[in-house]
């Protein structure tokens, strides 16, 4: 087993290595952070993933597309609609399936309900990391309402199982539409209240202002996505750049902090502001979708076996994108006319956003680690992609090792070339 110091590099008399995780109360999910600190200041940051790797993409190549829907929901329990939505869009684009307008609206409503749920959950966790537990309990109480509405619409609180390739599984009646409208009104008000609690509080402001800054330049260089990028002033949102579902009819604009606080600094405070304002934005989108909901079919094909038969004869590659609460999620699928896809690749938003931890944490204090780590809303279960395993051994290839291997190989080749 390696020690934290080995990964970080040289230790001197003035610096100290700290290893956080994978089992740590400040981290809700397994990830390991290795830090080198000088006094209270962080000098070097590195992290190790792979604790949550379950081999989902590999399992996907052994199942048919409808079974994969259930598997893709379980990539992440918080953003389960995002993965099914992106996967459905990828398969639909291959098979040329047109989604009925009513299904597009229902998909959008459920996706936005999920965004509200995720952002409020995040606000609660952020408050907890700051030691502000009353705000956390307030946020979690507010979140229960959206879970009730989701349960009413889909039958489940968390795993919604409403998406289907070519449409949705359940229709929405008038009573449910009323409930959804009520929830949208409630969250418009709730967002204002949360903004007052989080943005107006002097203690939260002093903890989060100018903490964990991600500059616009770093953000573009590291390809950050979602609220993390928008808080640094990058107007990037799949719902705006490449509208799908009901978003073309609604017209979404990327939310940046200058519209809320008047300036863009890219710190933790800005990320809180963007997320809280997006709750209101989602509530508005839901309100418009319920009002303009068209009549008609909710699925391209009701019978799963007929749909599977149709998909079995299809060949090609497709891409599905969706703006998840944490940023853009991206699915690539290749079908080769067989039961199971030939290839399935998932790119979750946290994969991009994790690297922005490094510029955010450098120079920060140790006490700021939990709030900075939480500020990108990391989701490890979406992210863990690769682990090198073999019988009786386990190895993670790092950059140094790869570099050494490369140098060794060059030397060997050079030796071989000598006359």
């Amino acid at each position: 087993m390696r020690k934290a110091g080995d990964i970080i590099g040289q230790e001197s008399r003035d610096t100290y290595s700290i290893c956080v995780g994978p089992v740590h109360p400040a981290l809700k999910e397994p990830v390991r952070l290795n830090l080198r600190v000088r006094g209270e200041r962080i000098e070097h940051v590195d992290f190790e993933l792979s604790q949550v790797h379950r081999g989902i993409e590999w399992m996907g190549t052994r199942r048919n597309p409808i079974q994969i829907l259930y598997l893709s929901e379980r990539i992440c329990g918080i953003c389960n609609i995002c993965h099914t939505f992106a996967f459905c869009r990828a398969v639909e684009s291959i098979a040329g399936i047109e989604v009925p307008p009513r299904a597009r609206y229902i998909r959008t409503i459920v996706a936005e309900l999920e965004r509200i749920h995720s952002h409020i959950l995040w606000a609660g966790v952020a408050a907890h990391e700051l030691g502000f537990d009353s705000a956390m309990h307030y946020a979690f109480r507010a979140r229960e309402k959206v879970l009730d509405v989701i349960e009413n619409l889909t039958g489940n609180r968390i795993m919604k199982a409403i998406m289907m390739i070519g449409g949705v599984r359940r229709d929405m009646d008038k009573g449910q539409a009323r409930l959804v409208m009520e929830a949208a009104d409630f969250y418009s008000r709730c967002s204002r209240k949360l903004e007052k609690i989080f943005l107006g509080d002097p203690v939260i402001k002093s903890r989060t202002r100018d903490t964990g800054i991600l500059t616009r330049h770093d953000c573009l260089a590291l390809c950050s996505v979602g609220p993390t990028a928008r808080a640094s002033g990058v107007r990037k949102d799949v719902r705006q750049d490449e509208p799908y579902g009901a978003y073309p009819d609604v017209g979404v604009k990327a939310m940046t902090p200058d519209e809320i606080t008047g300036e863009t600094r890219g710190d933790v405070y800005d990320r809180i502001a963007v997320r809280l304002r997006e709750i209101k934005q989602s509530a508005d989108i839901i309100g418009r979708c319920v009002k303009d909901m068209p009549e008609g079919k909710i699925a391209h094909e009701d019978k799963a076996n007929v749909l599977l038969g149709e998909l079995r004869g299809v060949q090609g590659e497709g891409i599905g994108r969706h703006e998840a609460p944490r940023g853009e999620v991206f699915h690539y699928v290749k079908l080769v006319g067989e039961e199971a896809p030939y290839s399935w690749k998932v790119r979750a938003p946290t994969y991009n956003n994790l690297l922005s931890w490094i510029p955010m944490m450098l120079g920060a204090q140790i006490a700021d680690i939990p709030v900075i780590a939480a500020s990108i809303d990391p989701c490890m279960s979406c992210t863990n992609r690769a682990v090198v395993t073999g019988p009786g051994r386990r190895q993670v290839l790092g950059q140094d090792m790869l570099h050494d291997l490369s140098v060794k190989r060059t030397r060997e080749l050079r030796r071989g070339l000598r006359p």
């Binding site: 089992v23 999910e29 397994p30 989902i56 329990g77 609660g124 879970l147 968390i158 279960s381």
Partner: protein, 141 residues
Amino acid sequence: MKSRDFSRSLWVFHLNTGSCNGCDIEILAALTPRYDVERFGMKLVGSPRHADVLLVTGPVTRDMEDKLKRVYAQTPDPKVVMVVGNCGNTGDVFYESYNLAGPADRLIPVDVYVPGCPPRPEAVIYGVVKAWKLLEEGKRR
């Protein structure tokens, strides 16, 4: 189910061994105002050394295998191990994965199984009450 006396507050340590977060947020929901088990003195603690109940979620990936065993060893006796969620109980949708060491009961002794994907907070609370009974009756070491 009737408990003889509520003489002790249960402190719970939550270990995520590769879960998708679904169970984890339902556990959080059980602790927060609507379901509010904190009124019975139950709370999540930051270290297994303070805990009476070890709450495991997730299908136990290979990477988390020895962490699970170590956390189990660090929890003082008497203790109860609770597995929340289908994937920790049986593997569920991940059953054929190459990177699983679980389900959890292959690695450590499990006392209470809470099925569901994810289980509702009521189910989590029911499981905790069962764990409580086991501790009171002295059935666990």
